[in-house]
């Protein structure tokens, strides 16, 4: 296939539309995750949560957005000016980019033309995600350092060391899946898990490690050491205000959405569900199933946050280096033996 054919006008339009829709959905989900978080937090604590803006408070994200935009945009005098401004944007940018390789479904048929529900079918999709999630730490690091505040710097250092530690275990647990499926492409991974043939049945330990690591990667409780209010005021975004702060918070919710999507795709069959063909409803069944799984995982993220108290920093490092990494290596050996024996 020649380059010219690949970049025909139709192809570009199709991708632009897909990217825009995906971007809108990502932002919408992230906005409503903030609402969901507050509402669920309330429910877990026998409260009602926001219920004033609109029926059941469903306009709350709008009100929050307006609030964020209209607040004073304060910049500390001693801050490194350009990096300080760059950091939230960088964090947000990286968070939004990750969703490109996730297969949201098989194919849609729009006006008679089949449209792949994946922005880019990279043959190293899972590596791309791991790479970008390590890039995400730059936003935090730059923001924390450039604020010229010791609490911000502490938060940033904690975030980066935490991410480095947990990325190892995360990568190792993914490698086991890759050994089993024999592919790095998320599209193929999802396709292989048709019906109820999900990877989690073969990799329960790998899933557990991956899930714990993704909690840590998203800086979510019980591993939210990077912003640990009781110790570090606000952590790396202590000095941020207005929409710059909003970007940081928003990007964290996007990260949560994406890592739920990755968990669902890698371990829980992506768009597959037994009895529900992803090609039904003109191809819309796949995205519906996947989004149901994603919302379930977002709920679990919140559920865990409002159940488990925060780890101490040394406990976090102990867990990462002394438990999860050896366990992930053990899991990898086990998978290797399994693959050798069963020839899967």
């Amino acid at each position: 296939m020649s380059i010219l054919l690949l970049f025909s006008a139709g192809f570009i339009v199709e991708k632009i539309i897909l990217i825009s829709v995906l971007f809108a959905i990502t932002l919408g989900v992230a906005a409503y995750s903030t609402y969901g978080e507050r509402k669920f937090a309330a429910f877990f604590q026998d409260r009602l949560g926001p219920d004033r803006a609109g029926p059941w408070g469903i306009l709350q994200p709008l009100a929050d957005g307006v609030k964020m935009f209209t607040k004073e945009d304060f910049r500390p005098n001693e801050a490194e000016r350009w990096l300080y401004i760059l950091a939230p944007g960088a964090f947000m940018f990286v968070a939004c980019m990750t969703s490109a390789v996730i297969p949201w479904g098989t194919q849609l048929t729009v006006f008679g033309t089949p449209v792949d529900l994946q922005v880019a079918d990279l043959n190293i999709g899972i590596l791309y995600i791991l790479g970008l999630s390590s890039l995400g730490v730059y936003g935090i690091m730059i923001g924390g350092w450039s604020s010229n505040n010791k609490f911000s710097l502490y938060g940033a250092i904690r975030a980066s060391s935490q991410m480095i530690s947990y990325e190892l275990a995360m990568g190792l647990s993914v490698i086991a899946v890759v050994m089993m499926t024999g592919t790095l492409s998320l599209k193929e991974m999802a396709a292989q898990q048709a019906g109820f043939n999900w990877n989690v049945w073969y990799q329960p330990l790998g899933f557990l490690i991956f899930f714990i690591c993704s909690l840590a990667e998203c800086n979510r409780a019980p591993f939210d050491m990077a912003e640990c209010e009781t110790e570090l005021i606000g952590g790396y975004h202590t000095e941020y205000s207005s929409m710059k702060l909003g970007f940081f918070l928003f990007a964290e919710y996007i990260n949560m959405f994406i890592s739920s999507a990755v968990t669902a795709t890698v371990f829980f069959g992506g768009y597959n569900f037994p009895g529900l063909d992803p090609n039904w409803l003109g191809g819309f069944m796949g995205p519906i199933v996947l989004f149901a799984k994603v919302f379930f995982f977002i709920f679990v993220f919140m559920w865990i946050r409002w159940t488990i108290p925060r780890f101490r920093y040394d406990q976090l490092m102990h867990l990462g280096w002394k438990s999860l990494i050896p366990l992930a290596i053990f899991n990898m050996l086990l998978t290797g033996a399994g693959v050798l024996y069963f020839g899967k």
């Binding site: 309330a42 429910f43 877990f44 026998d46 009602l48 559920w303 159940t307 488990i308």
Partner: protein, 192 residues
């Protein structure tokens, strides 16, 4: 040591076994606990009262925003004797007395009246001693809540906020609270 309640437990520092050490069992137990709370609120059993729409019932003897009563003809009962101000433990009440002029008989019941009567609602502790001290049955505490304000000055309530209206519909009913107080007094007294 003897236990005061039966709820205390001795601390045991035994070594944790494998399942306890990986914490997952404890975590799932905790998640089950929070899930029960979640589901209870989700299906409508919350303790929250949605305040402005739903108001919790007050006790019948609730002591709130004071009222200065008028008599049946609409004249103010207060004679500015100052007993309420003396009784007030928080020193929240101040007043300036004035003499009634000719032609003001429909406004004030007796020859002396309060030209200025102020209660500082930030100082008031709503104890009701002013009501007990009043010989003219002029001041009563009602079941109205003192509204919030942004400025301190707004909490010094003058006669405009304290004296009830002349018209029957603007009168403020204090009979429920008074009836309960009376009944309580009767109950407290030994039978004759």
């Amino acid at each position: 040591m003897q236990s005061l309640t039966n709820r205390s437990r001795n601390v045991v520092n035994k070594k944790m076994n494998f399942w306890e050490r990986i914490y997952l069992v404890a975590i799932f137990k905790g998640m089950w606990t929070t899930l029960k709370h979640f589901l209870r609120v989700m299906f409508g059993k919350s303790h929250t009262v949605r305040y402005p729409e739903v108001k919790r019932p007050f006790a019948p003897v609730w002591r709130g925003w004071h009222v200065l009563k008028r008599d049946e003809k609409g004249a103010e009962r207060c004679t500015a004797c100052g007993l309420c101000a003396v009784a007030c433990p928080a020193e929240a009440i101040t007043m300036t007395a004035a003499e009634r002029n000719k032609g003001e008989e429909h406004l004030y019941r007796e020859e002396k009246y309060a030209a200025v009567y102020e209660i500082n609602m930030l100082r008031c502790i709503f104890c009701g001693l002013c009501e007990e001290a009043c010989p003219k049955e002029a001041i009563f505490l009602t079941d109205r809540i003192v509204p919030s304000d942004y400025a301190r000055q707004g909490f010094v309530f003058g006669k405009d906020l304290l004296v009830e209206g002349v018209e029957p519909e603007k009168r403020i009913d204090v009979s429920v609270r008074q009836k309960h107080i009376q009944e309580k007094k009767w109950a407290a007294e030994p039978a004759h």
